[in-house]
C-alpha cells in the first residue's frame, strides 16, 4: 500500500519536479510510518512516479479542471511514445504507463536530492553501511549494543526551511496549513532506515543508552555558503566564539531561521533549492566507547612516593606515583585512551597508607575492551600487586559513574585515623603524655599551613581531634594514635606551624614537638564494597 494518498499529490509532484528525492517527499507529506522509508530507493522512486502518473491519468480521463499545466505538458510529451496505444476515448491503457514512468524518471529524477543532499539516498544503501562497519570492526572494540550518531551539515536546515515554505504555499492554495514541526525530521528518518541495517551488519541491537557510539560527520562544502546570508539578515545570532572554527553553527542557524521573516528568507534563498552537483561526503567515521570506572582501595608503603606525578617545569622530581603504578596495568588491560584518577583524600609523599587503604576510582576513557569477569578482575589486582612493593590494591572492581560521588563524600565527611612518631625537646615521662589520652573532641583552629599557602587562600579552619592514644617510647619520643575529622592537617597539629595551629601538641605538652613519621592507619569510608578474596 503506497504511502501517499490523493491529498498529497500536488505536493509530491511539486517537490519531485524541483529535484527532491522520494523519501524527502514522504517527509513533507508527513508520512509517519517507518516501514515506508525502508523500501529500496529504486522501488520508492518507481512507485512515486507510478502514483503520480496514475493520478494524472485519472484527472485527464475525467477532465478535472485542477490539472497542472506543466504536468500535462510532460504527460503529453510522453504520450508521443505511446500514442499508438490510445484507445478511442483518448485514455491510455495500463501497459504504456510503465514506459511513461521510466521516461518521466529519466527526465525528472534528480541526481542528488536538493533537500537532503543525498543523505536519504546513497547513504541509506548497504554499501555505505558496510564501509562503516568495516571501520568499526577493524578498531577492535568490545560492545553489546550501539548508538549511531550523525552530524549533518548546517546548511541542510536552510534547505529544509526553503522546502517547507514552498510546500506551505502550495498547501495554502488548497486551504491547508503545514507547521514546520509536522514535517518528519530528516535525522529521525535517517535513523529509522539506517539502524536496522547497522544492527544486521554488526550483529548487535541499536540502543539509545548504549555506551558504544558510532558517529559519522557529513559535510557538503559545495553548499557551505548557503547559510551565509543569514548573517546579514540576523547578525545577532552569529557571534564569533574563540573555540569554533566557523560562526555558522547548527544552533546559530536554527535560531536565525526561527527569527527570519518569510519575505526576507525568500529574497535571499530560492524556495525550491537548487540541485547540487555532488553528494554529501562522510568526512569522519569514528567509534568511541563510554568511560568505564574501576574502583578499589590502595595501600602505600613507600615514604618516597607521591600520589600523583610530581613534575615541576617539565622535570620529574620523584620517580613514579601511586596513580601511575595502578593505572598503567588498567590502561593496558582495558585498552583505554587515557585515564582520570581520583581518591577519597590524599597523603603526602612521605606518609604511608596502612590498614584497609584509601578508596580510589579510575575513569578509563574510551576503553576498547569492556568485559571483565570477577575472576579476571582478581587476576588484574594480583598483577598490580606483584608489579611493585611500594603499593598494594584491594577490592578492585568495576563501578558506575555515581560511585565517584561516594568517594568525594568520604573525603569531606568521614573520619581518618593516624599514627604519628613525635619528638619533644624537653624530656618526657609517661605521665606527661597521658593527658592526651583523656582529651575527647578537642577543637583546634588551623590557619592554612605554610607549606601549602602558596596555592591556597589564607583562612582558618576549625577541626576536631576525636580521640588520642599515646605510646611512650623514650624521654624524647612517643607514638600518638589519633582519630580526626576529615581535612585535619596532622603534621601542623603536632609541630604547631609557628603557632598557627592552636592548640597543638607542643602547646598541650608545654614543650616543643616535631613529627618524625606519619602513617594513615585507616580511612573510615565504607566504599567501595569489600570483596572476599
Amino acid at each position: 500500500m503506497f504511502a501517499l494518498t490523493e491529498k498529497n499529490r500536488s505536493i509530491a509532484q511539486l517537490l519531485l519536479n524541483t529535484g527532491t528525492c522520494p523519501r524527502c517527499v514522504f517527509r513533507f507529506c508527513c508520512v509517519g510510518l517507518q516501514a515506508s522509508y525502508r523500501h529500496p530507493y529504486k522501488d520508492l522512486l518507481r512507485e512515486l512516479h507510478e502514483f503520480l502518473e496514475y493520478n494524472k491519468e485519472k484527472e485527464d480521463k475525467f477532465c478535472c479542471e485542477i490539472a497542472d499545466p506543466p504536468c500535462k505538458r510532460i504527460r503529453l510529451e510522453n504520450m508521443g511514445e505511446g500514442a499508438e496505444d490510445l484507445n478511442q476515448n483518448g485514455a491510455l491503457q495500463q501497459t504504456p504507463v510503465a514506459d511513461d514512468v521510466n521516461v518521466a524518471m529519466e527526465n525528472s529524477t534528480p541526481k542528488v536530492c536538493n533537500v537532503c543532499l543525498g543523505i536519504l539516498q546513497e547513504f541509506c544503501e548497504i554499501d555505505f553501511v558496510q564501509k562503516v562497519c568495516q571501520k568499526v570492526n577493524s578498531a577492535e572494540y568490545q560492545f553489546t549494543s550501539f548508538v549511531f550518531s550523525v552530524s549533518l551539515p548546517p546548511q541542510l536546515s536552510v534547505r529544509e526551511h526553503a522546502a517547507w515554505l514552498l510546500v506551505k504555499e502550495e498547501m495554502g492554495k488548497q486551504g491547508l496549513s503545514l507547521a514546520k514541526e509536522d514535517v518528519v525530521q530528516l535525522k529521525e528518518t535517517y535513523k529509522w532506515i539506517i539502524h536496522p541495517l547497522f544492527s544486521e551488519e554488526l550483529g548487535v541491537p541499536a540502543d539509545g543508552k548504549s555506551l558504544f557510539e558510532v558517529s559519522v560527520v557529513f559535510a557538503h562544502p559545495e553548499t557551505d555558503e548557503d547559510c551565509h546570508f543569514l548573517a546579514t539578515v540576523c547578525p545577532d545570532c552569529f557571534k564569533p566564539a574563540k573555540n569554533k572554527q566557523s560562526v555558522f553553527t547548527r544552533m546559530a542557524i536554527i535560531k536565525a531561521l526561527d527569527k527570519i521573516k518569510e519575505e526576507d528568507f525568500r529574497k535571499h534563498f530560492p524556495c525550491s533549492p537548487s540541485s547540487p552537483k555532488n553528494i554529501c561526503a562522510a568526512l569522519e567515521i569514528q567509534c568511541t566507547n563510554g568511560a568505564i570506572f574501576v574502583a578499589g582501595r590502595y595501600n602505600k608503603y613507600s615514604r618516597n612516593l607521591p600520589q600523583t606525578p610530581w613534575i615541576i617545569d617539565g622535570e620529574r622530581k620523584l620517580e613514579s606515583s601511586v596513580e601511575e603504578l595502578i593505572s598503567e596495568h588498567l590502561m593496558t588491560a582495558f585498552k583505554a585512551d587515557s585515564f582520570n584518577f581520583s581518591s577519597s583524600g590524599r597523603e603526602d609523599v612521605d606518609v604511608r597508607t596502612l590498614g584497609r587503604g584509601r578508596p580510589f576510582a579510575i575513569e578509563l576513557v574510551n576503553p576498547h575492551r569492556i568485559h571483565f569477569t570477577a575472576m579476571e578482575m582478581k587476576e588484574l589486582q594480583q598483577k598490580i600487586n606483584n608489579s611493585s612493593d611500594k603499593i598494594k590494591v584491594r577490592d578492585l572492581q568495576l563501578v558506575t559513574r555515581e560511585a565517584i560521588g561516594h568517594m568525594k563524600e568520604g573525603e569531606e565527611e568521614k573520619t581518618k585515623t593516624y599514627s604519628a612518631l613525635i619528638w619533644t625537646d624537653k624530656a618526657i615521662q609517661k605521665e606527661d603524655i597521658a593527658l592526651l589520652d583523656d582529651m575527647k573532641e578537642l577543637k583546634i583552629d588551623q590557619k592554612t599551613p605554610l607549606r601549602v599557602l602558596h596555592r591556597r587562600p589564607l583562612a582558618v579552619r576549625s577541626r576536631v581531634i576525636h580521640t588520642m592514644k599515646s605510646e611512650y617510647i623514650d624521654d624524647h619520643h612517643f607514638r600518638l594514635h589519633l582519630k580526626t575529622q576529615a581535612g585535619t592537617y596532622i603534621k601542623e597539629f603536632v609541630h604547631g606551624d609557628f603557632g598557627r595551629t592552636k592548640p597543638n601538641i607542643g602547646f598541650l605538652l608545654k614543650r616543643t614537638a616535631d613529627i618524625l613519621e606519619l602513617d594513615v592507619e585507616s580511612v573510615d569510608v565504607d566504599w567501595p564494597p569489600t570483596l572476599n578474596d
Binding site: W423, L450, L453, L458, H495, F498, G499, G506, T512, L516
Partner: protein, 165 residues
C-alpha cells in the same frame, strides 16, 4: 644595598634545631647589621615554596639575656598598620608591598631601648604574628629551635634574588 662589614651567608639545615620534617623544607638566610645597626641581625627562613618567614637571628640584642620586651607595635606610621594587612584569594590580593627597608614592627623594652624589625627582602606581606602581641616573651623563648620561632612575618617574595645581598 651596600652591606655591613659582615657578609650575608646562607646556612642550610642544621644548627641546634629539631630534627625532622620541617628542617627539610626551610633554608636560612641571614642579613646582619640591618640598617647599619650593629648586631641587629635578621634571619629569613625561606620555604621551598618561596614563602619566607622573617625572624630574629641569635645575635640580635632582643634575644640577649636580661632584655625584657615591654611593647610591640605594628603601627609603623600614621597611615600604616601591619595589622590592617588583609589578603584574599589564592593570589593573596590586597597584601601590603614591602621593600628591603620597610619596617615591620617596633619593639620597646623595659630599659628604654627601641628596636625596629625590617623586612630585609622585597615582597608582599601575607601575615603578621599576632600571638606575640599578647605574649611578647614567646619572641625570646625557643629562639634556637625552629618551628616555634620568635617574631615572624610571612612573605611571598616578588624579587627572589633579593635574598642574596
Amino acid at each position: 644595598m651596600t652591606g655591613g662589614s659582615r657578609a650575608c651567608w646562607r646556612v642550610g639545615a642544621g644548627m641546634a634545631a629539631a630534627p625532622g620534617v620541617t628542617e627539610r623544607y626551610f633554608t636560612r638566610w641571614y642579613k646582619p647589621d640591618v640598617k647599619g645597626n650593629l648586631c641587629e641581625d635578621h634571619c629569613i627562613l625561606q620555604h621551598s615554596n618561596r614563602i619566607c618567614v622573617i625572624t630574629l637571628a641569635e645575635a640580635h640584642p632582643l634575644l640577649q639575656n636580661g632584655k625584657t620586651i615591654k611593647n610591640i607595635n605594628y603601627q609603623i606610621s600614621a597611615n600604616c598598620s601591619r595589622l590592617q594587612n588583609k589578603v584574599s584569594g589564592k593570589s593573596k590580593r590586597g597584601a601590603q608591598f614591602l621593600t628591603e627597608l620597610a619596617p615591620l614592627c617596633r619593639i620597646s623594652c623595659s630599659d628604654g631601648e627601641e628596636y625596629t624589625i625590617y623586612s630585609c627582602i622585597r615582597g608582599r606581606l601575607m601575615e603578621v604574628n599576632e600571638n606575640i602581641l599578647d605574649n611578647p616573651t614567646i619572641l625570646q623563648e625557643k629562639v634556637r629551635i625552629l618551628l616555634t620561632l620568635s617574631l615572624f612575618l610571612i612573605f611571598i617574595p616578588v624579587l627572589y634574588h633579593g635574598l642574596i645581598f
